[in-house]
Symmetry: C2
Subunit: 210 residues, 2 copies
């Protein structure tokens, strides 16, 4: 019934987010209730609503947090071949989903806002991830094909995401872990080959230097 100075407002919002994260990691999104978070941080329910608009708001912040981690886990080592680097990226995406299953589920299990749109800073995160791929695709397209390149980045992202999602939620029937890896490699391999083929034949770039 009183004011405390155990934490600043910022500390408290961070503390709440960490608690939420812990709960999801341990027990899944369904266990993420306002009361559970309050209990975990040693404050009362009302305090949560003093920091976040509602539970969905908290979930979106958690999702953004997860996207940050995903980004950090994916920033690419600048390698040689486009295809190999892309497959490396995809592999790390899959590794992330496996190492953080419950957290990763948060990313698409929270469309429950009904008609409520996601905030812009959330899209910024997604855009950043997309940028990662777009940059890798540069060698595949001339500098005057930015639109196609952006589209390819989105297609690849969505493709890998789709595979990971259907696999993780068991909606793919008879798919093992290695099966998922094979699928992702198959996607990247054939798609990249198709793009290369479309834009001027199989032999390319290497020949220009001599």
């Amino acid at each position: 019934m009183a004011r405390r100075s155990d934490h600043s407002r910022e500390e408290l919002t961070q503390l709440t987010l960490s608690a939420a994260r812990g709960i999801v990691e341990r027990e899944g999104l369904r266990a993420l209730t306002a009361r559970a978070v309050a209990r975990e941080i040693g404050y009362s329910v009302g305090t949560i609503y003093n920091l976040y608009d509602n539970i969905d708001d908290l979930i979106v912040h958690l999702a953004a947090n997860v996207l940050d981690d995903l980004h950090a886990a994916m920033v690419p080592l600048p390698g040689g071949d486009v295809e190999d680097t892309l497959i490396g990226l995809a592999r790390r995406y899959l590794a992330f989903t496996r190492a953080n299953q419950r957290l990763w589920n948060v990313l698409f299990e929270h469309s429950r806002d009904a008609d409520g749109e996601l905030p812009e800073w959330y899209f910024d995160r997604i855009g950043a991830l997309m940028g990662l791929i777009e940059e890798l695709l540069c060698p595949l397209y001339g500098p005057d094909h930015a639109i196609e390149r952006a589209r390819s980045a989105r297609v690849l992202w969505a493709g890998v995401h789709g595979i990971a999602m259907l696999a993780a939620t068991g909606r793919l029937a008879n798919i093992t872990a290695e099966g998922v890896d094979a699928m992702v490699e198959d996607l990247v391999h054939h798609y990249v080959k198709g793009v290369r083929e479309a834009s001027g034949g199989a032999v390319r770039v290497e020949n220009f230097s001599t």
Copy 2:
């Protein structure tokens, strides 16, 4: 407080499912509560639990129902070119997601069963859809490459699904409806081209007949 003979058990299960479907169509999955369904069919809450184990069970049945409709909307006209037929399929998939947004969302918004596995008859539905694509892919692979063909079917399915999902839930940033169409076509086009290229060069089948 009494027994009624307004409907047989089968009629009642069907009635419940239809009511559930109507509620989701009109107000989304979040409005699908046991009490709402009971109200709609003119029975009490308990009756729902006499027909379905729990709400998740009802949702899974609804999802299977939607999968049936999706299947019906996608059975392909046997056309000529593989790529064109595939794109036609993908287009109809997208059309379905747009025409039945809220229903379609049910398909992947109900992974909340936690560790509860989905029933086999649910996978049968998915398998049937996959079979649709697999069959279309036959001309791309020799009859002795069933595994690769099955994998390609899954990859394409997951890809289209991923695109549709990210687009529908607004998790793709700056994507219009035409953008989605373009993405799906891009995916199918380049992927198929890549597969063709991989399995024996650009010129194929047509030359064998003469």
